[in-house]
Structure formats: structure tokens, C-alpha cells
């Protein structure tokens, strides 16, 4: 394998893991509430920016990270409680506008609380690249991949083995039936938003040492994570991960071999292709419509 190809693949998997985390957040919320949360990217931003500012005040990195994730989770809970819950039965268009309004609100708050500049974090374990197959792998990338893998494993344990996780799956499948067997659907919704926000925040923290962060970093990351979720199959956890990785690799490969100016377009071209030919995504089920 050429060194260049290996390089592209490595950076592709790294950014792909971030997209996967954001996509997981989208899928979890979509499953629970059938809402596309356009504010998902802002949770990524909150994770990175909060960590940066807290470490700036002297707080040690681990504490800052935990605080950042908690803050994002809180924002997610607030979003569900005050914006999504009251508009539960509104049409799709209305819900979309509400979450987009929320994302604008959060970005506005970010410019007030922090600023409009780019910020960075020190890499967690230094910046000496590791050589693999002629390509240079940043230690931070190992953190990204490692943490993402741990999260994916934790989530599959959560959804597969714990009562709350199974309750969430049940709600996404058949809400009324879930209510009838005593599942507190409202709590499930809250947990979904909080969990997704936490996932986004973790992604934001992990990637900041590599790609920096700022008040508007959530826009593109959110949209691309969203494209990754669609690619893999909206509502499918494994699909989100697969979609994220595929997207990340496709992006770096096309930027390297085709055109770097159009790097951002790849995500949307792939999303459109999936929507045209297999709307339920790579791993989504083919649904049958009944009248």
C-alpha cells in the first residue's frame, strides 16, 4: 500500500470516527422521537469550547472534559424539555425549524460566552507522530479511535443488556406498545437527548486537538454527521458507525485524489446518492408501506 494511500485512510478513519459519534447522536434521538435534531452539531461545539475555556482557567483536563460533557448533556435535556416536548405533535417542518432555531440560539450564546476565534487543546498524549506503513499517525488519532470504539462497545452493551437501553429500543420500535407495558416514554426521550448530546460533546473534545474548535464548528460537523447517519441508515446504530467511517474515508480519498476544494461536497453527494437509490441507508431495513 502506498504511503500516501495509508495516510489518507488513517486520517479518513479518524475523522470518520468523529462523524460516527455525531451520527450516533442523530440516530438515538431520531429513534426515540422521530425528530432530526439539527442542533446536534452544537453539542460538538459545546464539548470542545467548554473544555478549552475551563482548562484555560486552570482546571485540569479530565475535570474540564467531564464538566463539558455534563454541560452539553444538560443542554440536550433542556432542548428536549423546553423545545421538543411542547411541539411533539407538530408537523415535520415545524420541528425542523425548532431545532434549527435552537442551533442558532446555541451558537449565539457561544459567541456571547466565549468569542468568535479559533481555539485548540493540547493533544492528550503529545504530538509525536507514530509511523505506520509509511504514514504518520497522530497519537490523538489513537485517542479518537480508541474512545470511539469504547463508546460503541458501551452503547451496544447498554442497548442490548440494560433495562433502560432495551426500553429505549422498544420505544423507538413501537411507542404506544412501549407505553402500554409501562415504559416512561418521556424519560426515554430525555435520556436520548442527554445521551446524544454527551456523545456529540465527547466527539468535540476528541477532535479539537486535531482540527481546532470555534463557535461555528458545529454547523459543518453537524451536517456531515447527519449525512453519515443517512448513509448508514437513519436510526441504525451500526449504520451510524459504518456511515461515519465510509464518509470519513471517502472525504479524505476524494480530497487527496480528486479535488481538495470540493472536500465538503462529498458528504452531500453521497447522501443524495443514498437517498435516491436506497433511502433507508446501507444498513437500514427496506420498509414496506401499507395502506
Amino acid at each position: 500500500m502506498s504511503a500516501q494511500l495509508a495516510q489518507y485512510l488513517l486520517s479518513g478513519i479518524t475523522i470518520g470516527a468523529i462523524y460516527a459519534l455525531v451520527a450516533l447522536g442523530f440516530s438515538i434521538i431520531f429513534n426515540a422521537s422521530h425528530v432530526i435534531n439539527f442542533a446536534q452539531g452544537e453539542f460538538v461545539m459545546i464539548g470542545g469550547m467548554t473544555t478549552v475555556s475551563l482548562t484555560g482557567t486552570g482546571l485540569p483536563l479530565p475535570a474540564a472534559m467531564i464538566a463539558a460533557v455534563l454541560l452539553a448533556a444538560l443542554a440536550g435535556l433542556a432542548l428536549e424539555k423546553f423545545a421538543v416536548e411542547p411541539a411533539r405533535s407538530a408537523p415535520v417542518v415545524t420541528l425542523i425549524i425548532i431545532t434549527i432555531g435552537a442551533s442558532i440560539l446555541l451558537r449565539g450564546l457561544a459567541t456571547l460566552v466565549w468569542d468568535k476565534k479559533l481555539h485548540t487543546l493540547a493533544p492528550f498524549s503529545g504530538s509525536t507522530p507514530i509511523e505506520i506503513a509509511g504514514a504518520a499517525l497522530l497519537p490523538q488519532s489513537l485517542w479518537v479511535l480508541g474512545v470511539t470504539l469504547a463508546i460503541v462497545l458501551a452503547l451496544s452493551w447498554f442497548f442490548g443488556r440494560t433495562l433502560l437501553g432495551k426500553a429505549m429500543l422498544a420505544t423507538s420500535n413501537q411507542r404506544v406498545a412501549a407505553q402500554l407495558v409501562g415504559i416512561n416514554v418521556r424519560r426515554v426521550l430525555l435520556v436520548s437527548f442527554g445521551l446524544s448530546a454527551a456523545l456529540g460533546a465527547i466527539a468535540g473534545i476528541l477532535i479539537t486537538p486535531i482540527t481546532l474548535t470555534s463557535w461555528d464548528v458545529g454547523i459543518m460537523l453537524g451536517l456531515k454527521g447527519f449525512a453519515a447517519a443517512v448513509l448508514g441508515g437513519l436510526g441504525s446504530g451500526p449504520g451510524a458507525v459504518l456511515g461515519g467511517l465510509v464518509l470519513g474515508i471517502a472525504e479524505t480519498l476524494s480530497a487527496g485524489y480528486l479535488s481538495s476544494a470540493y472536500k465538503d461536497v462529498i458528504a452531500f453527494v453521497l447522501m443524495l446518492a443514498v437517498l435516491f437509490f436506497r433511502p433507508t441507508g446501507i444498513l437500514g431495513s427496506r420498509s414496506a408501506e401499507r395502506v
Binding site: I97, V265, F268
Partner: protein, 324 residues
Amino acid sequence: MISWLASPRTGGLLALFAVIAALPLALSNNYFYEVAILVGVNAIVCVGLNLLIGYAGQISLGHAGFFGLGAYGSAILSARFDWPPLAALVAATIGVAALAYLIGRPILRLRGHYLAMATLGMGVIVSIVAATEDGWTGGPDGMPVRPLSLFGATLTGEGAWYCVVGALLVAAVWLSLNLIESPTGRALRALSGSEVAAEVSGIDSARHKVLVFVISAVYASVAGSLFAHYSGFITPSKLTFFHSIELVTMVVFGGMASTYGAVVGAAVLTTLPQLLTVFKDYEMVVFGAVMMGTMIFMPKGLVPSLGGLVETAAGTARARRGVR
């Protein structure tokens, strides 16, 4: 006489015309004219978009793309190819209509969230291309646009532009109202009511969805071309996802399935950011809060909600008088 005045097509149009004719009395300087013209341009887009979202029950998160294509089409054809501006406008409109027709078929097979995502993706792709192909479009910094000239006379000055945009808005509303009341309009509304019932009543739903998609794209394109010539300059910021959302919010805020609602929505949400500059740093926070608040508390939109209030008040008054 009363029923003639009360009908949206006649009385409503008269009222709109009266408002547009009388407004200059309140516009004391060029800045206000500028805002009014911007309202008019947005209103034209929204009237078309409302046909798609409100009446036909579809959705588009990428209409800024059509707006921008009209704007850049006019700009590029008139500046780089020396076309007469009017011919450029017509050509750009035809081009946008053709594009909307081509992508309409595959995209409108999707529904709900999937349709929203597809139109979003489409809009983002157009905006990225516009920002990247700087040879054609001047890139992220944009490009200048030649003034609009009609039969030798150049259109300059806020007053002249106000008249042109105002007249076109009235025309746009008139066409839209005609369409809604026609059998074709009923077919579109039927699609929104129950697609399967519309189909078994003989309506080719796919064809009609594409039709209304193309019509709304044409409205947006014409408005875009006008805007380009008016402001003398066009940048990719007018094609962004954010602008698409602004347009959808105007339509939903004013009231879906209400042509005048679309105009009102455009008016309110175009002037709001101007008012919000007072807030300076808080502008985004307030705008986001307004978007969320109106959708949560007035999900039907402004005009239908107000109309509902009026109806309830009238009903209560009638009940009090003992009339059924």
C-alpha cells in the same frame, strides 16, 4: 359587494396593492426603501415556496439554491457573456426550471424527513460549488452585477426598484391565488390532504409534485435575478443552508397554505434582523429564540392563528346575540 371584497383574489389583492402604493409615505429614507425592496424580493420567493410547502404539503430546505442560481445566472450571463439583462433573466429562469424538473423527479419520490434531507443536500452542494468555482462566480467574495436595463433605460434608484418589485409581488400573488383556486390547485391540495386518495381520484401525484416544485423554483429564481441586479453584487451567502431555513421559516411563520401569510411572514422576518441589530451581540440568540418560540406557541403560523382568533371572537359574539 361585501363578498367580492372579502374574496382573497379580489379584495385581498386590492388591499395588497393599496398597502404597497401607500407604503412610500412611511418610508422616509433610502434605508427603509432598501428594507422594503428586500421584503418584496423575499415575499416573492415565499409565495412560491408556500405553494410547495403549504399547499402541496412537501418540503424544501434548499430553496436558497434556486434563488442563488437565478442570481448568479443573471450575473454571469450579463457580466461575462454580455447578454442583455432581461434575456439573461429569462435564460436563468429557464435553466433553473429545467434543473428543478430534472432533480424533481428523483427527489420528490422521497417523503418527510428524507425529502427534507435531500433538498438540504442539494442546496448545500449548489452553495459550495458557487463558493468554489471562483473563475465563474468570483468565489466566496462574490461578483458584481450589471444594472438591469429595459429597452435602453437603466433601472436605478430605490424608488424605481420599489415600483418594479412591488408590481411583481402583486403579480406573483395573483398567479398563485389563481393556481390555488384552479383544478390544478385543488389537485395539489388533495396531495397534501391524502396522497393515496388523490391518486385514486386520478391525480398523478409524482407529476404534480414536480410541477409545483418547478413553479416554486421559478419564483425563487426570478426573485434571485431581481435581487442580484438591485444590489449590484452577489455573494454565496445568499445560497447557504441558513438562507434556505430563513425562507422556510418565513413561510411557516406567516402561515402555511396562506399566500398572504407568506407575504406577512417575509415582511416580519426580513425586518426583524434589521430591528435586532440594535441588540448587536444578542442578535443570534434573539433570532433563534424567536424562531423557536413562534413555532412552539403558534405552530399554525401567524395569519391562520390570528384568523382563528378573529373567528373565535366572531363566533362568541354571534353566540351572545343568540344567532346560530
